[in-house]
Symmetry: C2
Subunit: 170 residues, 2 copies
Amino acid sequence: MSLRHAVLGLLARDPGSGYDLMKLFDTSLRTVWPATRSQLYGELSRLADAGLVHVSAPGGRGRKEYSITDAGRAELHAWLLSGPSRGARSEMLLRLCFLGQVEPSDARAYLRHQAELAAKELAELEAVERLVPERGRLAFELGLRHLRVQQEWAAWAEGRLAESGATMTE
Amino acid sequence: MSLRHAVLGLLARDPGSGYDLMKLFDTSLRTVWPATRSQLYGELSRLADAGLVHVSAPGGRGRKEYSITDAGRAELHAWLLSGPSRGARSEMLLRLCFLGQVEPSDARAYLRHQAELAAKELAELEAVERLVPERGRLAFELGLRHLRVQQEWAAWAEGRLAESGATMTE
DNA sequence: CGTAGCATGTAATGAGTTACATGATTCA
DNA sequence: TGAATCATGTAACTCATTACATGCTACG
């Protein structure tokens, strides 16, 4: 139930309408916690019902500007410091569990492709490094490091498969 | 839609009943792709309707042993080699985006806790390293490397906060 | 006056969680 | 005969995705 907390986090920085928040979900949070309009507007209503946010400034064109309440801030704070919730799914790891079931050459090609993909994303990330605001620095650095291991690991894994394949056909 | 592929992957290794598969979901796949009974039995029916698996051996107590079909194998193969699907959510990264909104001392404590957590999981993983079957080796290694960066990063991040906190109060 | 951008939602469907509900067999 | 294990499911609910649907306003 973290969409709720993403919304609270954004509103804790600045009040805004659903429309405003949507732009943030489509930019800064795009790769971290994607959300759609229908989800967002629904969640805003529920948050308002629960008293965690309130409409602070109705505007033209039906605009409703929301602000976080004290209760909302308390909820956000508690969540921020709470442990990681269970149930993490990793499609990558799942594929890996069954990668032994395709031809070794296919598996190698797949891993090579993964390495290239990670390298590309890494390059993109490094290119925008200086644009990252100070407050986003920690998250950025973690993303960077994750991509680096991803790339190194894929290269290592491909090498390993190549070796064992060679051994087998000898 | 990856529960489907997890089931196909398991059945491609060995035929089994919903009950059998559930044990695997609760052990080997627990940390990779958790699933519940109700999800699993539902998915098995749908897979059978779609012709990707079939009941190969009905047994006592209502047991239905499923096997993968050629169509199922084809589907699995295609999925294994397909690119990563979009929509990856990271609760960790989301927390990080908003960690600036709590007291620096709270944030540091949180990061220290994360580092310890990663170190503990790492130790557990390393302890069972030799029990990992050859076919699970790639996934295991990726998990290991991810935990290592997690730990190193959390330590680095905490140090960074400590520094900037010190600068601010000077 | 038209179009780009602002601004809000609903409906249908699929995926995941939790709780409930039942019955057969084996073995001590 | 009673408990553990085998074995299957349904129902209610929440969360996420996709498509549909509408209307106002500023500006050129």
